[in-house]
Amino acid sequence: MDETVAEYIRRTVLKIPRDEIKTMLQKWGFLSEAQLQTLNFHQIKDNISQEVVQLCEENCADIKQAAVLDIIYNHIYQNKRMWSVYQMKKSGEELEYFDITDFKKKFKGRLRSALKNVTITFKEYEDNAIWIRVAWGTPYKKPNQYKPSYVVYHSQTPYVFISASVLKSNLPLLCQALIVASNYHDIREMELRSHSLNSLKDIVFKRYSQNFQTYYPKPLQGGNVEPESADIRIVQENRSEKERIHRLNWEVFGGGPQPKLEFAQYKLETMFKSDPKMGVLDKKEPFRCLVKFSSPHLLESLKSLAPAGMADAPLSPLLTCIPHKARNYFKIREKKGLFPESFVSP
Protein backbone atom coordinates (compact mmCIF):
# COMPACT_ATOMS: atom_id res chain seq x y z
CA MET A 1 0.00 0.00 0.00
CA ASP A 2 1.20 3.45 -0.88
CA GLU A 3 2.77 5.32 2.04
CA THR A 4 0.78 8.45 1.30
CA VAL A 5 -2.45 6.46 1.37
CA ALA A 6 -1.47 4.88 4.68
CA GLU A 7 -0.70 8.28 6.17
CA TYR A 8 -3.94 9.71 4.82
CA ILE A 9 -6.02 6.91 6.34
CA ARG A 10 -4.16 7.28 9.61
CA ARG A 11 -4.86 11.00 9.77
CA THR A 12 -8.48 10.58 8.79
CA VAL A 13 -9.06 8.04 11.56
CA LEU A 14 -7.35 10.38 14.04
CA LYS A 15 -9.92 13.06 13.25
CA ILE A 16 -12.80 10.81 14.28
CA PRO A 17 -13.86 10.95 17.95
CA ARG A 18 -12.91 7.67 19.58
CA ASP A 19 -16.48 6.58 20.28
CA GLU A 20 -17.44 7.02 16.66
CA ILE A 21 -14.56 5.16 15.05
CA LYS A 22 -16.15 1.74 15.04
CA THR A 23 -19.45 2.95 13.52
CA MET A 24 -17.67 4.92 10.87
CA LEU A 25 -15.47 2.01 9.89
CA GLN A 26 -18.58 -0.13 9.67
CA LYS A 27 -20.25 2.43 7.42
CA TRP A 28 -17.13 2.43 5.31
CA GLY A 29 -17.40 -1.30 4.85
CA PHE A 30 -13.85 -1.71 3.61
CA LEU A 31 -12.71 -3.74 6.59
CA SER A 32 -14.61 -6.94 7.28
CA GLU A 33 -16.58 -7.44 10.45
CA ALA A 34 -14.00 -10.04 11.50
CA GLN A 35 -11.22 -7.53 11.06
CA LEU A 36 -13.12 -4.91 13.04
CA GLN A 37 -13.49 -7.40 15.88
CA THR A 38 -9.72 -7.59 16.17
CA LEU A 39 -9.46 -3.87 16.84
CA ASN A 40 -9.20 -2.60 20.39
CA PHE A 41 -11.24 0.59 20.51
CA HIS A 42 -10.35 1.30 24.10
CA GLN A 43 -6.78 2.29 23.53
CA ILE A 44 -5.51 5.73 22.62
CA LYS A 45 -6.47 6.95 19.15
CA ASP A 46 -2.88 6.90 17.92
CA ASN A 47 -2.78 3.17 18.43
CA ILE A 48 -6.24 2.59 16.99
CA SER A 49 -5.32 4.42 13.82
CA GLN A 50 -2.09 2.47 13.49
CA GLU A 51 -4.01 -0.79 13.78
CA VAL A 52 -6.55 0.38 11.21
CA VAL A 53 -3.74 1.23 8.80
CA GLN A 54 -2.28 -2.24 9.27
CA LEU A 55 -5.62 -3.84 8.44
CA CYS A 56 -5.99 -1.61 5.41
CA GLU A 57 -2.52 -2.74 4.38
CA GLU A 58 -3.73 -6.31 4.50
CA ASN A 59 -6.66 -5.38 2.25
CA CYS A 60 -4.44 -3.36 -0.10
CA ALA A 61 -6.36 -0.12 0.25
CA ASP A 62 -5.81 2.51 -2.36
CA ILE A 63 -6.61 6.20 -2.47
CA LYS A 64 -10.10 5.55 -3.83
CA GLN A 65 -11.18 3.70 -0.72
CA ALA A 66 -9.47 6.18 1.54
CA ALA A 67 -11.38 8.97 -0.18
CA VAL A 68 -14.68 7.20 0.56
CA LEU A 69 -13.82 7.14 4.26
CA ASP A 70 -13.13 10.85 4.03
CA ILE A 71 -16.53 11.50 2.43
CA ILE A 72 -18.23 9.54 5.19
CA TYR A 73 -16.44 11.58 7.83
CA ASN A 74 -17.37 14.85 6.15
CA HIS A 75 -20.95 13.77 5.64
CA ILE A 76 -21.36 13.16 9.35
CA TYR A 77 -19.39 16.25 10.36
CA GLN A 78 -20.68 18.40 7.54
CA ASN A 79 -21.27 21.35 9.83
CA LYS A 80 -17.55 21.80 10.34
CA ARG A 81 -17.24 23.08 6.81
CA MET A 82 -18.45 26.30 5.25
CA TRP A 83 -20.88 25.71 2.42
CA SER A 84 -21.82 27.99 -0.48
CA VAL A 85 -24.86 27.53 -2.64
CA TYR A 86 -24.83 27.56 -6.41
CA GLN A 87 -27.81 27.59 -8.73
CA MET A 88 -27.77 26.04 -12.17
CA LYS A 89 -29.88 27.15 -15.10
CA LYS A 90 -31.29 25.12 -17.91
CA SER A 91 -31.47 26.56 -21.39
CA GLY A 92 -34.78 25.01 -22.25
CA GLU A 93 -37.64 23.34 -20.50
CA GLU A 94 -36.65 19.82 -21.51
CA LEU A 95 -37.39 17.37 -18.74
CA GLU A 96 -34.48 15.05 -18.95
CA TYR A 97 -34.27 11.83 -17.10
CA PHE A 98 -31.38 11.92 -14.66
CA ASP A 99 -28.94 9.08 -15.10
CA ILE A 100 -26.42 8.84 -12.33
CA THR A 101 -23.92 6.79 -14.34
CA ASP A 102 -24.04 9.27 -17.16
CA PHE A 103 -23.58 12.12 -14.68
CA LYS A 104 -20.52 10.54 -13.13
CA LYS A 105 -18.99 9.73 -16.47
CA LYS A 106 -19.44 13.22 -17.84
CA PHE A 107 -18.22 14.84 -14.63
CA LYS A 108 -15.07 12.77 -14.48
CA GLY A 109 -14.49 13.20 -18.18
CA ARG A 110 -14.74 16.96 -18.06
CA LEU A 111 -12.44 17.31 -15.07
CA ARG A 112 -9.86 14.85 -16.30
CA SER A 113 -9.66 16.41 -19.73
CA ALA A 114 -8.64 19.67 -18.11
CA LEU A 115 -6.56 18.33 -15.25
CA LYS A 116 -4.93 14.94 -15.24
CA ASN A 117 -4.13 14.81 -11.55
CA VAL A 118 -7.44 14.72 -9.76
CA THR A 119 -9.03 12.22 -7.40
CA ILE A 120 -12.77 12.07 -7.88
CA THR A 121 -15.02 10.11 -5.55
CA PHE A 122 -18.81 9.79 -5.48
CA LYS A 123 -21.17 8.63 -2.78
CA GLU A 124 -24.92 8.60 -2.95
CA TYR A 125 -27.14 9.00 0.07
CA GLU A 126 -30.77 8.11 0.66
CA ASP A 127 -32.08 11.65 0.50
CA ASN A 128 -31.13 11.84 -3.20
CA ALA A 129 -27.96 13.65 -2.32
CA ILE A 130 -24.91 12.91 -4.39
CA TRP A 131 -21.70 13.70 -2.56
CA ILE A 132 -18.66 14.35 -4.71
CA ARG A 133 -15.15 14.70 -3.37
CA VAL A 134 -12.45 16.17 -5.58
CA ALA A 135 -8.79 16.31 -4.61
CA TRP A 136 -6.85 18.68 -6.82
CA GLY A 137 -3.35 18.36 -8.24
CA THR A 138 -1.43 20.17 -10.95
CA PRO A 139 -0.02 18.83 -14.21
CA TYR A 140 3.18 18.15 -12.26
CA LYS A 141 1.96 17.25 -8.78
CA LYS A 142 -0.22 14.51 -7.44
CA PRO A 143 -3.53 15.58 -5.91
CA ASN A 144 -3.43 17.13 -2.47
CA GLN A 145 -5.71 14.82 -0.50
CA TYR A 146 -5.78 17.12 2.50
CA LYS A 147 -7.52 20.03 0.78
CA PRO A 148 -10.32 18.51 -1.26
CA SER A 149 -13.51 20.18 -2.39
CA TYR A 150 -16.87 18.69 -1.59
CA VAL A 151 -19.97 19.03 -3.70
CA VAL A 152 -23.46 18.01 -2.70
CA TYR A 153 -25.94 17.76 -5.54
CA HIS A 154 -29.59 16.88 -5.31
CA SER A 155 -30.33 15.68 -8.79
CA GLN A 156 -33.99 16.71 -8.75
CA THR A 157 -33.06 20.32 -8.07
CA PRO A 158 -30.92 22.95 -9.76
CA TYR A 159 -28.95 23.54 -6.58
CA VAL A 160 -25.42 22.55 -5.76
CA PHE A 161 -23.75 22.99 -2.40
CA ILE A 162 -20.02 23.43 -2.54
CA SER A 163 -17.43 23.44 0.19
CA ALA A 164 -14.40 24.50 -1.72
CA SER A 165 -10.88 23.90 -0.67
CA VAL A 166 -8.60 26.83 -0.13
CA LEU A 167 -7.47 26.64 -3.76
CA LYS A 168 -10.13 28.87 -5.27
CA SER A 169 -8.61 28.66 -8.73
CA ASN A 170 -10.17 25.25 -9.25
CA LEU A 171 -13.67 26.51 -8.71
CA PRO A 172 -14.46 27.52 -12.32
CA LEU A 173 -13.37 24.10 -13.52
CA LEU A 174 -15.52 22.42 -10.91
CA CYS A 175 -18.53 24.50 -11.90
CA GLN A 176 -18.01 23.72 -15.56
CA ALA A 177 -17.82 20.01 -14.90
CA LEU A 178 -21.06 20.21 -12.92
CA ILE A 179 -23.09 21.88 -15.63
CA VAL A 180 -21.71 19.60 -18.30
CA ALA A 181 -22.50 16.53 -16.27
CA SER A 182 -25.98 17.62 -15.25
CA ASN A 183 -27.01 19.04 -18.64
CA TYR A 184 -27.47 22.60 -17.46
CA HIS A 185 -26.05 25.53 -19.37
CA ASP A 186 -25.12 27.98 -16.65
CA ILE A 187 -24.26 28.13 -12.97
CA ARG A 188 -24.06 31.09 -10.64
CA GLU A 189 -23.03 31.48 -7.06
CA MET A 190 -25.82 32.57 -4.76
CA GLU A 191 -25.07 35.00 -1.98
CA LEU A 192 -25.82 32.38 0.62
CA ARG A 193 -23.27 30.76 2.89
CA SER A 194 -23.38 28.87 6.15
CA HIS A 195 -21.84 26.03 8.12
CA SER A 196 -25.16 24.29 8.43
CA LEU A 197 -25.68 22.38 5.19
CA ASN A 198 -29.15 21.27 6.22
CA SER A 199 -30.20 24.83 6.89
CA LEU A 200 -29.00 25.90 3.45
CA LYS A 201 -31.05 23.08 1.98
CA ASP A 202 -34.03 24.16 4.07
CA ILE A 203 -33.78 27.66 2.69
CA VAL A 204 -33.43 26.86 -1.00
CA PHE A 205 -35.81 23.92 -0.95
CA LYS A 206 -38.22 26.05 1.05
CA ARG A 207 -38.48 23.40 3.74
CA TYR A 208 -38.62 25.80 6.68
CA SER A 209 -41.91 27.00 8.09
CA GLN A 210 -42.82 30.07 6.18
CA ASN A 211 -45.67 32.21 7.16
CA PHE A 212 -48.12 33.28 4.51
CA GLN A 213 -49.70 36.63 5.14
CA THR A 214 -53.32 36.16 6.05
CA TYR A 215 -55.85 38.94 6.33
CA TYR A 216 -57.51 37.30 9.28
CA PRO A 217 -54.69 36.27 11.53
CA LYS A 218 -55.77 33.52 13.86
CA PRO A 219 -55.19 34.23 17.53
CA LEU A 220 -52.34 32.10 18.76
CA GLN A 221 -53.43 29.82 21.55
CA GLY A 222 -56.07 32.22 22.68
CA GLY A 223 -53.93 35.28 22.00
CA ASN A 224 -52.04 34.89 25.23
CA VAL A 225 -48.43 35.88 25.25
CA GLU A 226 -47.72 34.82 28.81
CA PRO A 227 -48.23 31.25 29.96
CA GLU A 228 -51.23 30.72 32.17
CA SER A 229 -49.02 29.79 35.08
CA ALA A 230 -47.68 33.37 35.40
CA ASP A 231 -48.25 35.01 38.75
CA ILE A 232 -51.56 36.87 38.69
CA ARG A 233 -50.11 39.51 41.01
CA ILE A 234 -47.91 40.67 38.13
CA VAL A 235 -49.72 43.05 35.82
CA GLN A 236 -48.27 43.62 32.37
CA GLU A 237 -49.07 47.21 31.45
CA ASN A 238 -47.95 46.77 27.87
CA ARG A 239 -49.74 43.53 27.17
CA SER A 240 -51.33 44.77 23.94
CA GLU A 241 -47.95 45.97 22.70
CA LYS A 242 -46.39 42.63 23.60
CA GLU A 243 -49.12 40.85 21.71
CA ARG A 244 -48.62 43.09 18.69
CA ILE A 245 -44.92 42.28 18.69
CA HIS A 246 -45.63 38.59 19.06
CA ARG A 247 -48.10 38.67 16.19
CA LEU A 248 -45.74 40.62 13.92
CA ASN A 249 -42.94 38.25 14.74
CA TRP A 250 -45.12 35.29 13.92
CA GLU A 251 -46.14 36.87 10.64
CA VAL A 252 -42.56 37.42 9.64
CA PHE A 253 -40.84 34.34 10.99
CA GLY A 254 -43.58 31.75 11.17
CA GLY A 255 -44.04 29.36 14.03
CA GLY A 256 -41.33 26.80 13.37
CA PRO A 257 -37.58 26.71 13.91
CA GLN A 258 -35.49 28.96 11.71
CA PRO A 259 -32.75 27.74 9.38
CA LYS A 260 -29.35 28.05 11.00
CA LEU A 261 -27.15 30.79 9.62
CA GLU A 262 -24.14 32.25 11.34
CA PHE A 263 -23.97 35.67 9.79
CA ALA A 264 -25.47 38.25 7.50
CA GLN A 265 -23.28 40.74 5.75
CA TYR A 266 -24.33 44.05 4.26
CA LYS A 267 -21.95 45.97 2.07
CA LEU A 268 -23.05 49.58 2.01
CA GLU A 269 -22.16 51.87 -0.84
CA THR A 270 -24.51 54.64 0.04
CA MET A 271 -24.09 58.34 0.46
CA PHE A 272 -23.51 59.56 3.96
CA LYS A 273 -26.62 61.50 4.94
CA SER A 274 -26.14 64.16 7.53
CA ASP A 275 -27.17 67.66 8.44
CA PRO A 276 -25.77 69.78 5.57
CA LYS A 277 -24.32 72.13 8.17
CA MET A 278 -22.24 69.34 9.63
CA GLY A 279 -20.39 68.85 6.36
CA VAL A 280 -18.49 65.76 7.34
CA LEU A 281 -17.36 64.99 3.84
CA ASP A 282 -16.18 67.62 1.40
CA LYS A 283 -16.98 65.56 -1.63
CA LYS A 284 -20.19 63.71 -2.27
CA GLU A 285 -18.70 60.25 -2.26
CA PRO A 286 -20.41 56.99 -1.45
CA PHE A 287 -19.60 55.90 2.06
CA ARG A 288 -18.17 52.43 1.99
CA CYS A 289 -19.07 50.43 5.01
CA LEU A 290 -19.48 46.76 5.88
CA VAL A 291 -22.00 45.68 8.46
CA LYS A 292 -21.82 42.12 9.64
CA PHE A 293 -24.19 40.41 12.02
CA SER A 294 -22.84 37.23 13.61
CA SER A 295 -24.52 34.78 15.88
CA PRO A 296 -24.48 31.06 16.61
CA HIS A 297 -28.01 31.10 15.22
CA LEU A 298 -28.68 34.39 13.49
CA LEU A 299 -32.31 33.99 12.49
CA GLU A 300 -33.43 32.79 15.92
CA SER A 301 -31.67 35.71 17.55
CA LEU A 302 -33.31 38.16 15.12
CA LYS A 303 -36.63 36.54 15.94
CA SER A 304 -36.07 37.13 19.66
CA LEU A 305 -34.92 40.76 19.33
CA ALA A 306 -38.33 42.43 19.45
CA PRO A 307 -39.84 40.25 22.20
CA ALA A 308 -36.72 40.87 24.27
CA GLY A 309 -37.22 44.62 23.92
CA MET A 310 -33.93 45.09 22.08
CA ALA A 311 -35.42 46.25 18.82
CA ASP A 312 -38.66 47.73 17.61
CA ALA A 313 -41.08 45.55 15.73
CA PRO A 314 -41.37 45.16 12.80
CA LEU A 315 -37.71 44.52 12.08
CA SER A 316 -36.08 45.96 9.02
CA PRO A 317 -37.00 43.98 5.91
CA LEU A 318 -33.29 43.84 5.12
CA LEU A 319 -32.98 41.42 8.02
CA THR A 320 -36.23 39.54 7.68
CA CYS A 321 -35.92 38.89 3.96
CA ILE A 322 -32.93 36.59 4.43
CA PRO A 323 -34.68 33.21 4.14
CA HIS A 324 -37.19 34.37 1.50
CA LYS A 325 -34.52 35.87 -0.69
CA ALA A 326 -32.20 32.94 0.06
CA ARG A 327 -29.25 35.20 0.68
CA ASN A 328 -27.20 36.46 3.55
CA TYR A 329 -24.79 38.68 1.65
CA PHE A 330 -26.19 41.98 0.44
CA LYS A 331 -24.92 44.98 -1.47
CA ILE A 332 -26.81 48.15 -0.80
CA ARG A 333 -26.39 51.00 -3.22
CA GLU A 334 -28.05 54.33 -3.72
CA LYS A 335 -31.11 54.26 -5.84
CA LYS A 336 -30.56 56.76 -8.59
CA GLY A 337 -33.58 58.74 -9.63
CA LEU A 338 -36.51 60.51 -8.09
CA PHE A 339 -36.48 58.63 -4.82
CA PRO A 340 -32.95 58.44 -3.45
CA GLU A 341 -33.56 55.56 -1.11
CA SER A 342 -31.17 52.68 -0.90
CA PHE A 343 -32.05 49.51 -2.66
CA VAL A 344 -30.70 46.03 -2.60
CA SER A 345 -28.84 45.01 -5.71
CA PRO A 346 -29.42 41.56 -7.13
Binding site: I234, V235, Q236, E237, N238, S240, E241, G309, M310
Partner: protein, 131 residues
Protein backbone atom coordinates in the same frame (compact mmCIF):
# COMPACT_ATOMS: atom_id res chain seq x y z
CA UNK B 1 -47.01 46.40 37.47
CA UNK B 2 -44.49 45.88 34.73
CA UNK B 3 -44.12 48.31 31.91
CA UNK B 4 -41.59 48.62 29.12
CA UNK B 5 -41.64 52.41 29.12
CA UNK B 6 -43.59 55.44 30.21
CA UNK B 7 -46.15 56.84 29.80
CA UNK B 8 -48.37 53.94 30.77
CA UNK B 9 -51.10 53.02 28.29
CA UNK B 10 -54.10 55.14 29.11
CA UNK B 11 -56.63 52.40 28.40
CA UNK B 12 -55.70 50.74 31.68
CA UNK B 13 -55.91 53.89 33.82
CA UNK B 14 -59.10 52.81 35.53
CA UNK B 15 -57.61 49.43 36.48
CA UNK B 16 -54.55 50.84 38.16
CA UNK B 17 -54.15 51.27 41.91
CA UNK B 18 -52.16 54.11 43.48
CA UNK B 19 -48.50 53.95 42.53
CA UNK B 20 -46.23 54.04 45.56
CA UNK B 21 -42.82 53.31 44.07
CA UNK B 22 -41.35 53.45 40.58
CA UNK B 23 -38.28 51.33 39.98
CA UNK B 24 -36.48 52.12 36.75
CA UNK B 25 -34.52 49.09 35.67
CA UNK B 26 -31.40 49.76 33.66
CA UNK B 27 -29.56 46.87 32.08
CA UNK B 28 -25.91 47.76 32.23
CA UNK B 29 -25.35 45.76 29.05
CA UNK B 30 -27.77 47.88 27.02
CA UNK B 31 -27.34 51.54 26.12
CA UNK B 32 -30.85 51.36 24.77
CA UNK B 33 -32.18 50.59 28.24
CA UNK B 34 -30.58 53.73 29.65
CA UNK B 35 -32.00 55.85 26.83
CA UNK B 36 -35.40 54.32 27.39
CA UNK B 37 -35.29 55.16 31.11
CA UNK B 38 -34.15 58.72 30.42
CA UNK B 39 -37.02 59.19 27.98
CA UNK B 40 -39.52 57.70 30.43
CA UNK B 41 -38.37 59.94 33.28
CA UNK B 42 -39.83 62.93 31.47
CA UNK B 43 -43.30 61.46 31.95
CA UNK B 44 -43.07 61.14 35.71
CA UNK B 45 -44.84 63.68 37.89
CA UNK B 46 -42.42 65.72 40.02
CA UNK B 47 -43.96 64.56 43.27
CA UNK B 48 -42.63 61.06 42.74
CA UNK B 49 -39.08 62.29 43.04
CA UNK B 50 -39.57 62.88 46.74
CA UNK B 51 -38.49 59.38 47.55
CA UNK B 52 -40.80 57.31 45.38
CA UNK B 53 -38.39 56.69 42.54
CA UNK B 54 -35.44 54.35 42.53
CA UNK B 55 -33.00 53.20 39.86
CA UNK B 56 -32.07 49.55 39.70
CA UNK B 57 -29.06 48.66 37.63
CA UNK B 58 -28.97 45.01 36.62
CA UNK B 59 -26.39 42.78 35.04
CA UNK B 60 -23.45 44.18 37.00
CA UNK B 61 -22.02 40.70 37.46
CA UNK B 62 -20.95 40.47 33.84
CA UNK B 63 -18.09 42.95 33.93
CA UNK B 64 -17.05 42.27 30.34
CA UNK B 65 -20.43 43.15 28.93
CA UNK B 66 -20.92 46.61 30.43
CA UNK B 67 -22.12 49.16 27.93
CA UNK B 68 -22.99 51.90 30.35
CA UNK B 69 -20.66 53.62 32.76
CA UNK B 70 -21.71 53.44 36.39
CA UNK B 71 -20.73 57.09 36.58
CA UNK B 72 -23.49 57.95 34.14
CA UNK B 73 -26.09 56.14 36.19
CA UNK B 74 -24.92 57.68 39.45
CA UNK B 75 -25.17 61.12 37.87
CA UNK B 76 -28.70 60.26 36.79
CA UNK B 77 -29.54 59.30 40.36
CA UNK B 78 -28.12 62.58 41.66
CA UNK B 79 -29.95 64.60 39.07
CA UNK B 80 -33.28 63.08 40.06
CA UNK B 81 -32.50 62.90 43.79
CA UNK B 82 -33.20 59.20 43.81
CA UNK B 83 -31.18 56.22 45.04
CA UNK B 84 -29.35 53.87 42.68
CA UNK B 85 -29.17 50.18 43.49
CA UNK B 86 -26.89 47.72 41.74
CA UNK B 87 -27.66 44.04 41.43
CA UNK B 88 -27.12 40.90 39.41
CA UNK B 89 -30.37 39.11 38.68
CA UNK B 90 -28.70 35.92 37.55
CA UNK B 91 -27.46 35.17 41.06
CA UNK B 92 -30.28 33.94 43.23
CA UNK B 93 -28.86 35.27 46.49
CA UNK B 94 -28.44 38.78 45.18
CA UNK B 95 -31.79 38.62 43.43
CA UNK B 96 -33.57 37.73 46.67
CA UNK B 97 -31.67 40.34 48.69
CA UNK B 98 -32.47 43.05 46.14
CA UNK B 99 -36.12 42.06 46.15
CA UNK B 100 -36.15 42.36 49.92
CA UNK B 101 -34.58 45.81 49.77
CA UNK B 102 -37.13 46.99 47.22
CA UNK B 103 -39.94 45.54 49.25
CA UNK B 104 -38.70 47.43 52.31
CA UNK B 105 -38.57 50.64 50.29
CA UNK B 106 -42.06 49.98 49.01
CA UNK B 107 -43.38 49.51 52.53
CA UNK B 108 -41.92 52.87 53.49
CA UNK B 109 -43.25 54.60 50.39
CA UNK B 110 -46.71 53.15 50.95
CA UNK B 111 -46.68 54.54 54.45
CA UNK B 112 -46.66 51.15 56.18
CA UNK B 113 -43.66 51.91 58.37
CA UNK B 114 -44.43 54.23 61.24
CA UNK B 115 -42.14 57.14 61.75
CA UNK B 116 -40.36 56.86 58.39
CA UNK B 117 -41.57 58.70 55.33
CA UNK B 118 -40.39 58.18 51.78
CA UNK B 119 -38.62 61.51 51.83
CA UNK B 120 -36.83 60.94 55.12
CA UNK B 121 -35.74 57.53 53.95
CA UNK B 122 -34.30 58.73 50.67
CA UNK B 123 -32.36 61.55 52.34
CA UNK B 124 -31.02 58.93 54.77
CA UNK B 125 -29.81 56.86 51.81
CA UNK B 126 -28.28 59.89 50.15
CA UNK B 127 -26.30 60.87 53.18
CA UNK B 128 -25.03 57.34 53.55
CA UNK B 129 -23.78 57.35 49.93
CA UNK B 130 -21.96 60.61 50.33
CA UNK B 131 -19.74 59.21 53.05
Amino acid sequence: HLATSLPLPSERDHLRPRIDLIVFMIDIKSKYSLKNVEASLAHVDASFFLGKVCFLVTGVGRVNACSIETNAVCKLGEAYCSPVLFCELELEGIRVATAQRLLRMLQICAGHIRGVSALSFVSLMRNANDD
